[in-house]
Each structure stands twice: as C-alpha cells, then as structure tokens.
Amino acid sequence: MLKLEGVDAKYDSFKALDGISMSVEPGELVVLLGANGAGKTTLFNTVSGLMKPAAGRISIDGKDVTGRKPSALVAAGVVQCPEGRKLFPSMSVLKNLRLGGYVHRRDRAGMHKTLEQVLAMFPILDEKKDEPAGSLSGGQQQMVAVGRALMGRPKLLMLDEPSLGLAPLVVKQVFETVRQINAEGTTILLAEQNAYAALKIANRAYVIENGRLTMQGDREEMLGNEAVRKAYIGA
Amino acid sequence: MTFTKTIRRVAAATALAMGLAGGAHAAETVNIGFTGPLSGGAALYGENTLEGLRMAVEEINADGGIDVDGTQYEINIESLDDMYSPSRAAVNGKRLVQQSNTPVVFTPHSGGTFALQAFNERDGFLIMSYTSIPSVTEKGNELTVKIPPNFTDYVEPFTKIAMERFGKKLGVANATHDYAKYWTKAFVPAWKEAGGEVVASNPMDYNKSADFYTGVSKVLSADPDVLFVGGASEPTGLVVRQARELGFEGGFVVMDQAKIDEVANVAGGMDAVEGAVGVTPLAHSDNPGAADFVEKYKQEHDNVATSETAYNYFAMHLVARAIEQAGTVDDPIAIRKAIPEALADLPAEYNPYDVQEISDDGDLIIDAEVAEVVDGEIELRRISDLKDDD
C-alpha cells in the first residue's frame, strides 16, 4: 500500500529524516513508535505532501507520489489526522466533517452516507454538530479530527498521536475506535508515544529515533523486546 | 570576472542613459526648462501647463524659430517630472541649468518655485512661475516672473455681484490646499468689510475627500445666501451639485482655479450653477486673442482649453520674444529686463488674456473679466467697468 525507499527530509540544513525505508501493507495497522522530536510528525508530513522529501521515493499502491501536493495525496486515498488536530475552530462540527469529504464533494450521496457512518461511530458529535469545533473538549475534538479524516474515505489513514493530552479513559476509547476502523478495512499508520496501548492493537511496529528507523517487528516481537519495553513502555 | 564585466556594463548603460536624457545641445537650439507634476495626483495640471508651452514652441519653430542677434534658434522644451515635490523640482532645476543650459525654467507650483528660488539667482536662470501665490514675488527674487495675475483683483467684484443678488450670509465651502487658503484669507475679510457675515466656514479637502455630503450639509445647515466654493473644476462641480441636491437655492462665488463651464458639466448643467460668479471661461471671453487660441487648441484636442494651458502658451511666446529682444540666449538678467518691452510688442493672437503690464516685482497685470451666470447664460463684465460703477 504505502512504500518509502531511502527518504530524507531537511529543515534548512538540519536533516530531520535520514534514509527512511518502510512499508505498510493493505489492511494492516502499523505503529510508529518514537519519542518527542524523533521525526514521527516529519515523516507523516512528508508522506502527506506538506513537506517535500530531499531524497528518496514514496509510492502508493506502486505509483510514485514523491513530491506531490497534499491535495493529490488526499485524492489518492492517503489522509492524515494530524497531531494537534488542526481543526477549523470557528466552524461547526458538521462543517468540519463536511470539509473532510472535500475531495468527494461531487459525490453527494456517498458523502451523506459516510457522514452518517461517522456520526454513528461518534454519537456525541451528532449531538454537538452545530457547535463550533473549537468549543468542544479535547477528546471530542479528537473525535472530530478522526471523523474529518474518515470523511475523506481513506485507503490509508495516518493518525499522528491521537492520544496526546487526553484523559486515560478517553485514550482507551480512542484506541478502541482506531481498532474498529481498522477492523472495518481501513489501513492505518499510527504514530504514538503511548507504546503499550498502541502495540496492543497493532499488527507491526517501527521504532524511529533521531530521524532513523532503528527497529521493526510484529506485535509480539516488539512487546517482548527489552529495549522497547525500557524506552517506551516503562516496565 | 563576470562581476566586473557586469559592473562595467551597468556603468556604460547608465552613462548612455544619462547622456540621452541630458539632451544633445545643437548649435542653434535654445533649451527652455520645465519642471512640474507629470505623474501622481497633480499630473493633469502639470500636463495642461506643459501643453501650453508645447503649443507655443511648435508655432515658433514652424515660423523658423527666433532670431537672436542674427542667429536663428529653434526652441526645445526640456520637461522633467517632479511629482509636485519641491526637492525634486530643485534637482530638476539644477539638471536643466547644468546639463541643458536652460536660461529659463517654467514651473507650475509654488513649492517648486520656492525651492528653485534658493539658487536661481546664483546659478543664473529665470523662473517663470505659474502660481498665484503672492509670496513668490514678494521676497524680492530678481529672476522670478509670476504668470497668472493676482487673484486679489477678483475679490471685490465677486463680493459685490454675489452680495447684491443673493444676500449677505456667506458659507465657506472651498478647498484646503495652499492656493485655496490664500483665497480664503483674502476673500473672507473683503466680504465682511462689504457688510456681509460668514455664517459657516467648513473648507474641505477637494483632492482627497471621498464624499462632500457631510461637509456641504454642515455649511447649508447655517442657511447661507451665498456659498464660496472652489478647487479644481470637477470636485467643485460635485460640491455645487450636492449643494443643489440638498436644497440650496442661493448663489456661488467660484474661486478662480475652477472654471464655471467645467463646473457646470459636473454639477448638472448651466441651470445648476445659476448665480455663480467666477472668472470668465476662455471660450466666452471678449479678448481678441482668446478666440484665436480656443480655435488653435480645438484643432489638436478634443476638449476645451484650460486657463493653465492658455497662460503658459502666452508666457512661452512672451519669453521667446524677450530672448529675441535681449539678443542673448544665456543671460537671464537681460531676458528678464526685456520682458516689458516684449509684452508691449506681443501680437494679440498670442495673448488670450490680454495681459498689459508687468510690475517690477514680476507680477503680470490684466484687466480681468468676471463671469456671472444669469438665467443659465454666462454674462461678462470687466473689472475696470465694475470699478467705474462706484
């Protein structure tokens, strides 16, 4: 589905990604583990087209998309739900969700259907649909962000730290939702610091440190790995 | 290597451009300078004055130029834009005198005149200043001629005509630029002296205001008999139009910068300017030279000649004749001295305003005509006749 080969990314002279090669297969839920500043968000933004890679190749379903604009990637089915949510704060929840389906705007019926599915998944959003997104609680805003991403009917959904800054109970809900979305057939790439919760629902995981991938393996391998436990699970 | 080459090329290009702009000085050409606004908000005004000079020069050159002490000279106008800025006018003045050897520099604004006066006597050139502001010639600069006549000549007859017909209550609603202020300073005391009163005073920035409704309605709320208006013709027309829209039925005293016929075009016809007193539009003038000039202007342009064009046309002819009589193209003092004589000899066809005399200070003196709109028609009166009435 998604394949990166030797991808570099730079901020001026600072190399934020260094030779990243990885892949995500259809239907998988892959976790990207890493500390703050390790390069998770840069990697996501590079895949989404917000940043241009300095070197390397990115492909979706075998098609080269290196350096394409974000709008082209969304149209190709790669949708990011970003860290910090990046909602449209003064717009109503409903408008935020509608804009999520921007690339499908001509397919009114399809859009309506997806909207109903999303509202069914997050009933609280149905209740608050006319309120400005910025007035919602953190957990609810995260739901709007996920819902907005789903409105793009992604083939590959990239979730950047969806649990950040949320109460433990809410975090649990979020991960349950992510699992559910994956179970319904959407491929997911999930960036997390909260390794334990993330690994529990993942198929595979990569570890990123200082812009390089240092480890990879399936769920059991990673949960059993001493270094991972020390660094990210704290047990 | 490439860098030095680039520098050399830039230097060469600059030198070339400067040379071209400086103007080649042919043996039998005399350059006459002009610095005025040719871009920016006052560009139209600058263009109009320059047009008068150009018309005169074309005529002179078509007649074979001027004869200076046995040599035939063609006249060439070196015109430079100063965007109405005094310092640019000063730079232009230096440039004209140094690069183009101009014995005479025309400028149509007071700021430019003042800036040129800082060095014109020393650098040796005559300033032909088209501005009515009295201080231009009051400071004793020997080489300055003020082209338009003193507006103060108009103050008394305007007051008399308007007051007799409409009443004693005056509302001041003219413009705020320097010239308008000089007018107000002269006009308001004269109005009071003639027994009138000023019921409202609210000058407005004619060149910048987005809307005059507020200002006009403020003046009208004091119920004046006569409105004192004026700035450029078109905004003056708007002020008159809006005053009529707001129900004003009295008369107007129109400052000489605005021309009644142009004002009427904007205000909504001659009926709208009924009762207006102002200077005579050239097309209506009795002067022998006026009709000639209007005709000449019409052949080349599709609009009506302005007074700035006519005065500068006259002034250029006057300067050309003065150069001939002085017998020199590079002694401004001699040229200045020859002006009274040149004026006496100037054929009427070049003198649309019938200028008769020049004072020692450098003020031109005319017997102006005053125009009044009566029943939708322009009626003329000579200032000298009006004085005789007393």
């Binding site: 917000l50 990637l73 793009g152 | 908000g41 560009a43 263009e47 920035d205 809307d211």
Partner: protein, 287 residues
Amino acid sequence: MELFIQQILNGLTLGSIYGLVALGLTLVYGILHVPNFAHGALYMVGAYVCYFAMVELGLNYWVAMVAAAAVVALLSVLCERLVFHPLRHAPPIHDKIAAIGILLFLEAVVQMHWGADFRRIPTPYNEILRLGELTLPVQRLLIIGGAFALMGALHLYLKKTMTGLTIIAMAQNREGAFLVGIDANRVAMMTFAIAGALAAIAASLFAPINLVYPAMGHLVLLKAFVIIILGGMGSIPGAIIGGLIIGFAEALGGFYISSTYKDVIAFVLLVVILSIKPTGLFTKGVR
C-alpha cells in the same frame, strides 16, 4: 433630527463602500497573510473599466459593472499568480513592497491610457427622493442597497457552498485545509478574484457620485486598512462593522465636530483603539 438622519445616511453610504473594499482586503489577508497595498489600485482600475464600458463602449450601467468586476477579478488573480505566489516563502516585508510595485505600475498604465483627468461615470439614476427635509438621491440608496446585498451574497457563498467553505477553512487553519485535500493555489486564486470583484463593484457603485482619477484609490485603501485592523485582520464581520464604524465616525464627526479634521478621525480612532486593545476590536480569524 432630519440633519442627524441625513448624516446617518451619509455614514451608511460611506461605510458600505469602505466595507466592500475592506472585505476583499481582509479575505486576502486571511488566506495569505499579505496586506495587499495594491488593493486600492484594483479599486481604481475597476472604476476605469466601468467608465470605459459605459462611456466609451456605451454599455448599460449594470453590464459595465459586471464587466469591471470580471476584468478586475482577472487582474487580481494575475497579481496573485505572478507576484504573490512566487513570494509566498519570502519575508513579509517583500510582499508589501511588491504590492507597492503593482500599485505604481497600475496607476502609471491607467494614466498613460486615460491621462490624469478627472472623469465621471454618469448614473442612470439621477432621481432624488425627498422625505420631508431628507434628501435621498437614488444612486446613494443604490450604493447602500447594493453593498448590503453583495455582503449578504458573499456571506451565503462563504457559509453555504463547499468552495466558499474552503476559503474560510484555509484562513482558520492552513495545514488542516491542506490535509483535507484543499488545493492552496485554487483557494488563493479564488480569494483574489473575489477581492478584486468586490473592489471593482464598490468603485462602480461609488464612482457616479464621485470622480474617477488615477489616485482615487489612495485614501480609500488607507481607510480600508484602518477598518480591517479595527475589525481584526482576517475577520469578515469585523470588516463590515469596521466599515460602518468609520463611515459613521466620518459623517457624524465631520458634521458635528470638524470636517477639516474629518479624515484624521479614522486614524486617530485606530491609534486609540490599538493602544488599548492591540489585536483590534474583534478577535482574529474568519468566522
């Protein structure tokens, strides 16, 4: 009392024109964070196109207005493509200077073609309604009605259509807009087109009671800037309300205080308000 109402009407006339110009300015600012100093020149070009279509081609007033809107919208988009787009990564000072370059260029071009003469657009609506002491020229009512209708239409467009929503989305969160697949170039071009059209319509509405000349945009632009700062840069309701505040302040201040200092009022108001509340009256962000 009639005099007071008369001033209110004057304030409405001025305020609705200022508001339309400020709206375009604030939209562009919201999307690109460019204070577009060339906006006043677009306003001026709008008046000239309307003049050309009406006086020189003899078209109907409304047709001329539409033509002006179309031409200036196109011109505005060209500015975006040729100037502001290449400068999107430059320091903010550069946008402003480039905008000044555009302003100087457009004024020079207009002056080359039409000269610096004052020109007039004749209105087909010369009637004057009178209600007691009140004077209501139809063209002035048209300005107020037209401006508010346009503002209403713009509101509906921005709130109810998907393409309109993309403009607001882009203003509220640029990256968020990219991530839902909104094409930044499309939105930028559309915003510039709308801003240009608004300026041209404002000019076409206002020109018949005013004069058309190359420098006509200067003061309107300055005031539009004051308005969008008052209203919060990027805020649409802020631009409309700010426009009315300035319109009323000028009409009432000019009448009851001093019309010599009428044009100072807007700027002093700005200085006072910003000294007290540095982010303007309304919080930032398009709503």
